[in-house]
Symmetry: C2
Subunit: 136 residues, 2 copies
């Protein structure tokens, strides 16, 4: 069973029709842990899909995030990034060079105390500071 077949099955399980574009985008997100933007995805897949359009990337990313298949990172304004890894972890942005890194927790992160009646479904953790290269 190759990766493409696996992805098609996975998308079908989530009631998403595995169009060529969607499968390519999903594969791209699973293979690239670079937290790409819509533009990055478009630029990188454009050669693979000649008629590719950014609208399709926007449509697909909305679909994937709505279904919980990927998560949207809004750590910086005006540039939404996407992460194919939906496990509990945060993101760290270097305030000097702008590079984005994953942020993992040793212990289970504590849950905020919500007033009666609130239902927490998702948490995002964003950090800022200096990366090793910029903190010297």
């Amino acid at each position: 069973m190759n990766q493409l077949n696996e992805i098609e099955g996975f998308l079908r399980e989530h009631a998403i029709r595995p169009s060529f574009q969607r499968v390519q985008i999903f594969k791209y997100l699973k293979n690239n842990k670079t937290h790409p933007t819509v533009d990055t995805i478009y630029q990188d897949l454009h050669p693979v899909i000649p008629t590719f359009s950014k609208t399709t990337v926007y449509n697909t990313m909305k679909l994937f995030t709505d279904r919980g298949l990927v998560s949207a990172i809004t750590i910086e304004e005006g540039e939404t990034r996407f992460d194919g890894d939906t496990s509990t972890h945060g993101h760290f942005k270097c305030t000097n060079c702008g590079e984005l890194h994953d942020l993992f927790f040793d212990e289970p992160v504590n849950i905020p105390s919500l007033p009666e009646g609130f239902q927490l479904q998702e948490m995002h953790y964003y950090g800022w500071g200096l990366c090793p290269r910029c903190s010297k």
Copy 2:
């Protein structure tokens, strides 16, 4: 000592010239815990400052956040909100009605484990789910 004098002194302490616009914006942020956007600030202060412009709000918010006087909330793309309360707390957005609430932690929040060389300066905590009104 009235609030305006206090604000002027506070801004001077942070090497910020207390122009009329800046003092009004700062006062607004301290008195309104509504996490306003640039547009909200502009709309609400426009009557008070006849020649007011959004550019000034953008300039001032950048100045205030750079100096750590207020914090920028980027929980949703395309709509930066601001918080005059810079103490450690998160924000919660109802995925149904879109309302934004403060998110407080009972215990001290645990710090993510950063690889050697990283220097963490700021953390933001964003949560999504249903508010009491929408979870019924």
